[in-house]
């Protein structure tokens, strides 16, 4: 089941909210865990067995680590952690790199359980004695399929007692709808446009660059939309999960881009790989190696293909360049040029991301520089550019805060002048209009999965 299906929006979600709301406080957690299991098992019950196995295995490892710490057996504790983390990663790799069929969300929940074990090791959290609490942390349905990868230290207190309030419910619902609108009204349309443009057997330079831009925006709206939905859903049930995106296409450097794009994954690698390797407080050569390791792992996390490793290293290369060569040399360059340069690097990197293999990516890049033999500009390229111009401009403006600025400036401030009740009424009407547009989009369009489900 996915967040953008009519069944989820109009049946599963309302029933879940109703059920969790009416059951006594003591039973809320049990209900949420059972619903999360049902959500995860939907369509493929086999996957639930692996999730349950992972929950039990890591829960017991946590208990074991707690016992060893009480006994002061630090060396054994490290060995237990290493063995368990290796076992978790081995299972993930076996799934990713064999023909077994990847259970949806396994990359995300494996990183969640690893976060739990590392937090115990780093004494940032206590071992969880309550199996139900741990099961909720790992399987909580808003975040299980594609994150955000909430670190255990941030969730520890929240899972021990569920607090649901009306303001949180409404805020959560609003964020969910914003995410859904991003997915249905923009990402899916951009995806359809990308498919049409790249369906040409040979592309002109214009078409190839247009395809790259369309995919870059599609991925942003698809994944940030999903993240908004997940964070909004978590909010409905009283959980606070940190934002996963912060207008990444407004970044002035690649390093900044990664503090704004898939924030939870970057934070995970920083917390559990980069800092334990020594972070910034090491020699330049060691720092270079640390960055290389982190970026190779980031690439590998996304997939086993050479294209993903190249994509990770592509970003790593610019982060390293910014760190060692560029430093503050570009500070005087106008902000807009630095943003455009960063976007160009990020957009170019997505070619490795959407291509099924490294050779396909190389072929696509060739077409971006005229290897398609269709010239720089052709009729098809102009046709698609004109046809998708409005969509492209709307998506671009939305990705760089302009739409948010307009809403705040024109709608929020004017409504505020009329008083709080007018503001609430305007927000309510806006929400209803958005819901109608989304429903119409979901009914008229064919179903589009989320791009990050493949990881």
């Amino acid at each position: 089941m996915t967040f953008n299906s009519l069944y989820f929006i109009f049946i599963f979600l309302p029933l879940t909210v109703f059920l969790v709301w009416i059951v006594p406080q003591k039973a809320k957690k049990t209900v949420l865990v059972l619903i999360s299991f049902l959500f995860y098992a939907w369509g493929n019950p086999r996957n639930l067995l692996f999730l349950l196995g992972s929950i039990l295995f890591n829960y017991m490892t946590g208990i074991q680590m707690g016992m060893l710490r009480e006994q002061g057996r630090e060396k054994t504790l490290k060995r237990v952690l290493t063995a368990a983390a290796a076992a978790d990663i081995l299972l993930l790799c076996l799934f990713k790199y064999t023909a077994a069929g990847l259970p949806v969300g396994i990359s995300f929940y494996t990183f969640s359980v690893l976060s739990y074990l590392f937090d115990i090791m780093q004494e940032a959290a206590e071992p969880q004695r309550n199996l139900l609490n741990f099961a909720l942390y790992v399987s909580f349905f808003p975040k299980i399929t594609s994150g955000p990868i909430a670190q255990y230290r941030d969730m520890e207190k929240q899972i021990s007692k569920i607090r649901i309030s009306q303001p949180q419910l409404f805020r959560g619902l609003q964020l969910f709808l914003v995410g859904l609108a991003k997915k249905v009204l923009l990402a899916d349309q951009l995806g359809a446009a990308f498919s049409m443009v790249t369906a040409q057997s040979r592309m002109s330079v214009l078409s190839a660059w247009l395809g790259m831009a369309l995919y870059s925006l599609q991925l942003y709206y698809d994944f940030s939309g999903y993240s908004d939905m997940a964070i909004g859903l978590a909010g409905i049930f009283g959980f606070e999960i940190k934002p996963n995106f912060n207008y990444p296409y407004l970044s002035k450097s690649v390093s900044e881009f990664w503090r704004r794009w898939h924030i939870s994954l970057g934070a995970w690698f920083r917390q559990y790989v980069y800092i334990p390797l020594g972070g910034n407080r090491v020699s330049d050569s060691r720092l270079f190696m640390n960055l290389l390791i982190v970026w190779t792992l980031t690439g590998i996390w996304h997939g086993s293909g050479l294209n993903f490793i190249v994509w990770g290293l592509w970003h790593g290369m610019f982060v390293i360049l910014e760190r060692f060569v560029i430093k503050d040399r570009f500070d005087r360059v106008p902000r807009i040029f630095r943003i455009l340069m960063t976007d160009l690097i990020a957009f170019f990197g997505w070619v490795f991301f959407f291509s099924p293999s490294f050779s396909a990516a190389a072929g696509y890049i060739g077409q971006m520089f005229g290897a398609g033999g269709m010239g720089i500009i052709d009729r098809a390229g102009i046709y698609y550019l004109v046809q998708y111009a409005v969509l492209l401009i709307a998506a671009l403006l939305g990705s760089v805060k302009v739409i948010r600025w307009l809403i705040t400036r024109l709608f929020y401030r004017n409504s505020l002048r009329l008083g709080e009740s007018a503001l609430n009424m305007a927000a309510f009407i806006g929400t209803i209009i958005m819901l109608i547009c989304i429903t119409a989009g979901l009914i008229s369009n064919t179903y589009q999965s989320f791009l990050y489900f493949q990881f």
């Binding site: 196995g53 017991m60 023909a99 359809a192 369906a199």
Partner: protein, 156 residues
């Protein structure tokens, strides 16, 4: 403590066993794509079908033909036809989910197209089959899809 250790690793062993069972089940077939395609075509009524190119695969299913080891589409020759064949040889198992979703979406679209007037077509679509074996996926909408499935499985 020993008890915890035992239970923990038994649990992990069970997961590995399940995983290996899954790997064995989906071991890729070495049969060449052309051979499997020929067997499938031979078992179907091709008079009602037209061969589709990569553009048509993208248009009807939203799938990129070049992303797969092999992909062949035979779609209805007339607007009133519902018969269809899609055969895909995957490059890796991660592609399976996308293909399944694309097929389900296609069925949904076709049902929407024929809803209310195409009783026969709706019957064919409801009776359609999706067969997955190893690295191959077959989608068949036909009068007797079981015959096509048997030919497909035999060819693998």
């Amino acid at each position: 403590m020993t008890r915890i250790l035992e239970i923990k690793w038994i649990c992990y062993g069970a997961m590995l066993a399940l995983l290996f069972a899954a790997i064995v089940r989906v071991t890729p077939s070495k049969a060449p794509f052309d051979q499997v395609e020929a067997a499938v075509i031979a078992s179907a009524d091709m008079e009602k079908l037209t061969e589709g190119d990569s553009l048509m695969i993208r248009r009807l299913y939203g799938l990129d033909q070049s992303a797969y080891q092999g992909a062949a589409l035979y779609y209805p020759a007339s607007n009133m036809g519902a018969e269809e064949l899609l055969l895909i040889q995957m490059k890796d198992s991660a592609q399976q989910k996308t293909i399944e979703e694309a097929i389900r979406s296609r069925i949904k679209t076709q049902k929407k197209n024929f809803d209310g007037y195409g009783i026969e077509q709706m019957g064919l679509l409801s009776n359609s089959l999706i067969e997955e074996k190893g690295n191959y996926i077959l989608f068949a909408v036909a009068e007797d899809p079981a015959v096509i499935r048997d030919a497909f499985l035999e060819a693998l």
